[in-house]
């Protein structure tokens, strides 16, 4: 076609990247709200700091390099907010901001911007903070403790259910507390109910499909049931699924478009592998939690998974045979 006429299709569904990101931000408000209720106003400020830092970093990157301004697509805001949800409310603001800037500039922009990054920016930002400031990331304030809004936070670290499970022992917290999130932990990770509300919104809006989260959660459930370390395998399994970052990661990290596979078979393998790695890292690793590294490792495998598991070619596999 030499003539520069518009190509079909001539109508569009109306979907857009910024609308999708807006939906994700709306969904993330549920776990954020739970975090603010459980850990106080400091949780909200941490979220504002990381989000603002992420947005500013991307805006500045585009401005300095004279690139098309992409900050309006909303993905930087999502990265910032997601990072905050994986941090304890007591984290120093500057550290949180640093993680955010790293996530956006190094993990996303340096790889070529939205869609080109290999690793989930928020989780990579968290991984950096765990490397640089381990003491800030593994000390958790007890729910309801009055965290100062400014200045250094000098907290008496409270034990989280996941810490108890390293013993190994079933945590003191009740399953109801695990569901509601009135336990020690990261801002957006403790309340399973809030995460599920956000996830339900994304499912209804068609932003995510349940394939990866269910494969992930199912694998964690089966493995912790089979390789139970508690007196009651079912209880051990429930605490394993509800404790730590599994729920948030399953619905909001493993479903990150850019860093997860696009084909159904690859998505299932991806979810199962993250689940297996999570349990493995929890049981054997230095930290009580293994979600971050499990997801990041599988991020690196996405291209290989998609190559190894293509879709069935139309008409292949005997379907062309006469009925």
């Amino acid at each position: 076609m030499s003539r520069n006429l518009p190509c079909s299709p001539h109508i569009h569904s109306g979907a857009s990247i910024s609308k999708t990101m807006r939906d994700v931000l709306i969904a993330l408000l549920a776990p954020l709200a739970a975090g603010v209720i459980v850990f106080g106003l400091r949780a909200l400020i941490v979220a504002l700091v990381t989000t603002a830092a992420a947005v500013a970093a991307e805006a500045l990157w585009c401005a300095v390099l004279r690139r098309r301004q992409t900050v309006t697509d909303g993905s930087a805001a999502v990265t910032g907010l997601l990072l905050a949800l994986t941090l304890p409310a007591s984290v120093p603001y500057w550290q949180a901001a640093l993680g955010s800037v790293f996530a956006v500039l190094v993990v996303k922009c340096l790889f070529g911007g939205l869609g080109q990054n290999i690793f989930n920016p928020a989780l990579a930002g968290r991984a950096l903070l765990m490397l640089l400031f381990p003491s800030s990331l593994v000390r958790f304030a007890a729910p309801g403790s009055e965290l100062p809004l400014t200045g250094p936070v000098d907290i008496v670290s409270s034990s989280t259910p996941l810490h108890d499970m390293v013993m190994p022992a079933l945590p003191d917290a009740s399953l109801t507390q695990m569901l509601l999130g009135t336990i020690g932990g990261c801002i957006g990770e403790t309340s399973a109910v809030a995460i599920l509300i956000g996830a339900a919104y994304l499912l209804v809006r068609g932003v995510i499909a349940p394939r990866i989260p269910l494969a992930y959660l199912g694998t964690v459930a089966v493995l912790t049931l089979v390789f139970s370390r508690g007196q009651d395998p079912v209880q051990w399994m429930l605490y394993s699924v509800l404790g730590g970052g599994v729920m948030l990661a399953a619905w909001f990290m493993a479903t990150d478009y850019v860093t997860s596979p696009v084909t159904p078979a690859a998505q299932i393998v991806y979810g199962v592998a993250i689940g297996a790695l999570t349990v493995f890292l929890r049981y054997t690793g230095l930290y009580p939690e293994g979600v971050t590294y499990a997801v990041l490792m599988m991020n690196a495998a996405v291209w290989a998974l998609e190559r190894a598991l293509p879709r069935r070619r139309y008409g292949a596999a005997g379907k062309e045979a006469r009925a």
Binding site: C7, S13, S16, V262, E320
Partner: protein, 433 residues
Amino acid sequence: MRKLFYGGVHPDARKELAPPDSVHAVAPPALAVVPLRQHIGQACRPLVKPGDAVRKGQRVGDGEGLCVPVHAPVSGIVREIAEYPHATLGRCEAIVIENDGRETPADTEPHGDPSSLTPSELEERIRLAGVAGMGGATFSTAVKLASAAGAVDTLIVNACECEPYITADDALLCTQPELVVRGAQMLSASVGAKRTVIAIEDNKVRAAEAVRAVLPSGMELKILPTRYPQGAEKQLIQAVTGREAAAGKLPRDVGCAVFNAATCAASVRAAFDGEPLIERIVTVSGEGVKHPGNYLVRIGTPIADVLAAAGGLADDGVRVLAGGPMMGFAVDDFGAPVTKGVNAVTCLPRKTAAQLDGTVCFRCGRCVAACPMHLRPLYFFRGERCGDAAMLEHDHVCDCIECGCCAYACPGHLPLVRAIRAGKQLVKECAVP
């Protein structure tokens, strides 16, 4: 709802703009432009020369093989044979006939009941009448019949019309259901099919009722849940029979023959009355045209005349398409005539017409979920941009039927169909000769 084929999308149908219950005749054009290529395959050779007097329905161009003859839609004088704008090809050699307004008919051979004809005699009648697939593909109906004869067990009449806005086949079924049914019977008998199915989507209630009222015993009326691209040949075969015709395979390879509803009607006219294909129903619709509706248009009528008959365009910003919004071709020269495959002229105002100028893919996978051919369109976008023919071929870019579902669903507004066409070209160029 059970999915009868994979993927697909649900665009807003907007069929109410052009109701199917009436068809308005458009006056024969003062100047008819008859392109020598209105079908897939080689162009016709002109059988007339400038200055010749022609009669309405006279064969004026023909050729061999897949070639389908063309006929004079009006009586008059051949003014010139020259390159003219063409809705889908850009430009094409055409016979231009000055209408004398007398409508002098060509001599037609007496045609009786075609049931006494052998299949090859029937094919010749259909070929001589210039019948080609009227759903848009414009493949020679006679050649299709010949290849299907004895090789198929199921004949499907495609009355899905899954593209938004278009109601031309719907109008044909509402106004002349018996013609389509007779065509289906005739073609089915000719190819020796055991099962004859008229497939229609569930949003065409009146057409379905009209067909049911004249449905002979032994013929099925299949109402399919509305979803685009159900009317695509492979997807329709799958929806009706569950069989998948792989890329490069023909419907006959899975025991099916598919004919568009308008093609069935044209075949009956050809076989019974010796009437050549010189007019068709065209849906002129969209928010950008003043009087949307169904119009009976002579083949060769410039799109400008058709638009004028429909009250003209709302403003200068309207995008005019030959065909529907999902697979139609944008037309910038309204001197291009209506051809056998043009089932619609869709007029989209600037605000409705999609601007597919995105550059960012964030791998949401909606293109993968929407693709009825099990492809991964996002790979084609990347592969075409990198000039990676090996990757494009490995991911079967040539299996794509260009239905446009991927680009319709893409939040990044990526021009996926454009990339895929360029990608196919790249694969062709890189193939070892």
